[in-house]
């Protein structure tokens, strides 16, 4: 009994210590960065047009990529959550593929398919759509790396809606598509909003794939990297800190969404 209590106490101490170290490991660099450059970064937003523009570009491209991801990913997520079909496991694996490949590799792959020499790139060019070295490239890179997060979370959101709601709607005269639109979609909407916030957050923090496709114009992450390489750590801090503050926006939005649900 005595030793049992002792073991429990030791386990509690070890768990507490490990948790604290882990949290500190994550929080300290971020807090340090914001502490060192947050105020300067916010102040620079007024004077530093390049920083300001890169933040706007980042937010706009992430919004564009998220919109495309929601449009294309929602039906896919629904199918993965609700239907059985041949090759479903394969489709799910393809969707998850960007999560496991290094992001510069993803950038190279996209460049190969969408670059000026590729048939797709040429076709897009004749339509007047520039991908490489343009905001289009940023959106493509963001979409590629962050869409799996949307599809995964949206699939979960659909799966959480009891399929029997849809069954009831079907027997009340709805076609499969109509039941999905009138019942499942509204019931999953909160989860879908959360999924798109997660996707947006992932998109604004992308660097590796973007830097291959579109170095200029620079998104915030590329700008921070560029300033670090060109001018050193101190010059990079404000841009980096501002990007952290931007990333806090979706985090807070998610929190608010959860709170309003409860």
């Amino acid at each position: 009994m005595e030793s049992n209590h002792g073991t429990q106490a030791i386990a509690a101490v070890v768990t507490g210590l490990a948790t604290s170290v882990f949290l500190l490991f994550i929080a300290a660099p971020v807090a340090g960065l914001v502490g060192a450059g947050g105020l300067a970064g916010l102040r620079d937003l007024g004077s530093d047009a390049e920083l300001r523009q890169s933040l706007i570009l980042t937010a706009l491209c992430a919004t564009g990529a998220t919109a495309l991801g929601v449009l294309g990913g929602t039906p896919l997520a629904y199918l993965l959550a609700r239907r059985r079909f041949a090759g479903k496991a394969m489709v799910a694996a393809i969707v998850d593929l960007p999560l496991v490949i290094p992001h510069p590799v993803a950038g190279i792959a996209l460049l190969l398919v969408l670059g000026r020499q590729s048939p797709a790139g040429q076709a897009l060019a004749t339509l007047g759509l520039r991908i490489v070295g343009a905001p289009g490239g940023i959106i493509c890179a963001m979409l590629f790396v962050s869409a799996p997060l949307f599809v995964g979370a949206a699939r979960e959101a659909f799966a959480r809606v009891d399929a029997r709601y849809e069954s009831v709607a079907r027997t009340l005269g709805d076609s499969a598509w109509r039941a999905a639109r009138r019942v499942t979609l509204p019931l999953a909407s909160r989860g879908l909003v959360a999924a798109s916030i997660v996707m947006w957050a992932r998109a604004i923090s992308e660097f590796g794939a973007i830097v291959i496709l579109t170095y200029n114009p620079k998104v915030a992450s590329v700008l921070a990297y560029d300033r670090f390489l060109s001018f050193g750590l101190n010059e990079a801090i404000p841009a980096a800190a501002v990007l952290v503050l931007l990333a806090l926006v979706p985090l807070i939005a998610l929190r608010a969404l959860h709170t309003s649900a409860e």
């Binding site: 709607a169 027997t171 019931l187």
Partner: protein
């Protein structure tokens, strides 16, 4: 309710339950389930067959986990059928989309759409808003019309679900324990409303219940399902009197189910004629259980069997009567279970407990008490051998 209603027993004779066979079998039933197999998760329905006639009220009963809801979902078309056929209104519907089957499905847990108000829920499948309003009126739901469905009580939710299912004017109404969440008073009222609407509109019902009293109250046809199979199907009174097995009898609440041996008696003495009444059976059966032998009418295969006697058929007296009652035994009172006007008295007859349901008044009049000697009596006709 339609007197013509009946159910075909679980057809052992359906050799290859394919759709051609089903189409050929199309006659007057509104719903024919032919050799249906379906799977839901790890649960499997196997070779389920029965009919419900046009306008009849069918009750699907069985213990929890029997597959009742799965069967309703297969009929509704919201889960796929692996084998067999579902024929509704003479059309093979096995692979027809649920919205084209002309039916409504009302689940036990209502599944009201939480993002819609009570009114919008009821209107969901309605042809016109007026039809929805009328139905909501009939179930007394108009005062709740503007409410968020998440604020309703369990009983209110169930009534809204029922009204929603009916506004579509379905040809076939599938109900999954629709009264389970209702208190006794509301339940009786809801049953009354449903019965009236059923008679007015003449649709066909398949109603899932685990409560056999609902079969007697509502059903024209009863289907007993257990572990994915149909154990018995037919008019409720027949199922009640002549259960297909001891298990069925037990499930249907028969208090006296005895295991023993049956031995047919071929040559009946003249004294049997009185006991037979107007029954046409030619044979009698002697059934031995424990230390007693009792008599039943009809045919039975010699050997191990079960005897079923409903407690209502057992009479108690202080002295043996001289009547035509074949089965009379002396015993002692073991136990009383009063339930309002009726008391169930368990009598020890030479080691075999026999339960009699008698009025509480006659318990008093006979001065029954535990340990008191009594005579139990029941007619040979009341004994069902299975």
């Amino acid at each position: 309710m339609s007197p013509a209603s009946r159910a075909a027993p679980a057809a052992r004779s359906v050799p290859r339950p394919d759709e051609a066979a089903a189409a050929a079998a199309v006659g007057s039933p509104m719903l024919s389930v032919v050799g249906l197999s379906a799977r839901q998760g790890s649960f499997t329905l196997r070779n389920v067959s029965f009919d419900v006639q046009h306008g009849a009220y069918g009750i699907l009963i069985g213990p929890a986990g029997a597959g009742k809801t799965t069967l309703l979902e297969a009929i509704a078309g919201v889960i796929p059928v692996r084998e067999g056929a579902v024929v509704i209104g003479g059309r093979v519907m096995t692979h027809v989309a649920p919205d084209r089957r002309g039916l409504s499905l009302v689940y036990q847990h209502a599944y009201l759409f939480p993002h819609l108000t009570v009114r919008r829920n009821i209107e969901y499948g309605a042809a016109t808003p007026e039809a929805a309003r009328e139905m909501s009126d009939r179930f007394g739901l108009e005062p709740l019309a503007g409410r968020d469905v998440r604020t309703l009580s369990g009983g209110e939710r169930q009534l809204v679900a029922l009204a929603r299912g009916l506004t579509r004017r379905p040809g076939l109404l599938l109900l999954d324990e629709p009264f389970a969440a209702l208190d006794q008073r509301t339940r009786n009222a809801a049953r009354r409303v449903l019965r009236v609407i059923h008679q007015e509109q003449g649709f066909t019902v398949l109603h899932v219940s685990h409560d056999f009293s609902e079969v007697g109250l509502l059903g024209d046809v009863a289907v007993l399902l257990d572990r994915g199979r149909v154990l018995q199907a037919g008019p409720p009174d027949v199922m009640f009197r002549e259960p297909a097995s001891a298990y069925v009898a037990d499930f249907l609440g028969a208090e006296n189910v005895f295991a023993g041996r049956a031995a047919p008696i071929r040559a009946l003495g003249p004294d049997w004629s009185a006991a037979r009444g107007d029954a046409v059976e030619e044979h009698a059966v002697a059934f031995t259980t424990g230390a007693i032998t009792l008599y039943a009418l009809g045919d039975a295969v010699p050997g191990p069997a079960h005897a079923v006697i409903r407690a209502e058929e057992v009479a108690l007296s202080l002295e043996p009567g001289s009547s035509s009652v074949r089965n009379q035994f002396r015993g002692t009172v073991m136990e009383f279970a009063p339930a309002g006007a009726i008391t169930r008295v368990t009598v020890d007859v030479q080691g075999t407990p026999v339960v009699a349901a008698v009025t509480s008044r006659s318990v008093q009049e006979l001065g029954l008490e535990v340990g008191r000697p009594v005579v139990v009596a029941f007619k040979a006709m009341a004994v069902h051998i299975c």
